[in-house]
């Protein structure tokens, strides 16, 4: 028996490390990997809550809807689909940026900056 809060704290730690990477790293590919890390952290809390709600499956919520324990798994499935699509498009954009600017450093890709 592991407390649910342990899973949520691990998820929060991973999410915060992802945000740190997003803020502090200067390489565009590493920044992209930090975003994937944040998505994974959110997936972990989805799965933990799915397991938690499964213990209460079949009961009614205050709104009258029945609790379905597995919905969290379906949401993780959708998050993975969107992450795969995002990785394909994002890496194509990175290749296009590299082709025109010859750099992967985000500080040199600053045409939109005032």
């Amino acid at each position: 028996m592991v407390p649910l809060s342990w899973y949520l704290v691990l998820s929060a730690i991973l999410f915060c490390l992802g945000v740190f990477g997003f803020l502090l790293k200067r390489n565009i590919i590493t920044i992209f990997m930090s975003i994937e890390l944040m998505l994974n952290a959110v997936n972990l809390s989805f799965i933990a809550f799915a397991n938690y709600w499964n213990a209460h499956a079949g009961q009614k919520l205050a709104s009258g809807r029945e609790i379905v324990g597995l919905s969290g798994h379906v949401f993780v499935f959708f998050v993975m689909v969107v992450a795969a699509a995002e990785a394909a498009v994002g890496l194509a954009i990175i290749i296009a940026v590299f082709r025109t600017r010859e750099t992967l450093n985000v500080d040199r890709v600053n045409l939109l900056k005032l």
Binding site: C16, I29, E36, L44, A84
Partner: protein, 166 residues
């Protein structure tokens, strides 16, 4: 007891991989430590009784997406990260803000430990493919079909962006 020990081991591997992702300056090392994070997350999903999600975590994330990352790093011949000044705003506001957010979430979770209760490895057919597929193709059929259109658009977008101009 075994459950807790396994959670602590894989949680520590997870956090160590994520920290290594931030510390390493070469993108290929960051990519490989992200693979470690994803593999140990898959094992944590198994501890939560989510077999199907653990399998697609390994196949889609640690397999397909990370191969794409490594492939792009090799293709662009990416060297070590250059040190540049970066954004001072991110350093001054972002980092303390995230630290406060993380500590707040941790504090709230630890304080509400009793109400949240615990999780254990669930009933036998909990995370298997069959109940998930039934949910996915009945209740979530429309979102499922919409994601197929999303993937199609993403493929076309990647091809258009990757095509050499002129």
């Amino acid at each position: 007891m075994v459950h807790q020990v396994l959670f602590i081991i894989f949680g520590l591997i997870c956090v160590a991989g994520a920290v290594n992702l931030l510390v390493q300056r070469h993108p290929i090392n960051s990519a490989l430590s992200l693979v470690v994070v994803m593999a140990s997350l898959a094992l944590i999903y198994l501890l939560l009784g989510a077999e199907f999600v653990a399998a697609i975590q390994v196949i889609v994330y640690a397999g397909a997406i990370m191969v794409l990352f490594v492939f792009v790093i090799m293709l662009l011949n990416a060297g070590s990260e250059e040190r540049s000044s970066g954004s001072r705003m991110a350093l001054l506001i972002g980092v303390p803000g995230v630290l406060v957010l993380g500590c707040l979430i941790g504090w709230i979770m630890i304080n509400n430990n009793k109400q949240l209760g615990g999780v254990s490895i669930a009933a036998t057919d909990f995370g298997e493919t069959h109940p998930i597929a039934r949910l996915l193709f009945r209740d979530f059929l429309l979102p499922f079909e919409i994601t197929s259109i999303l993937i199609l658009i993403a493929i076309m977008g990647a091809v258009v962006l990757g095509k050499r101009e002129g």
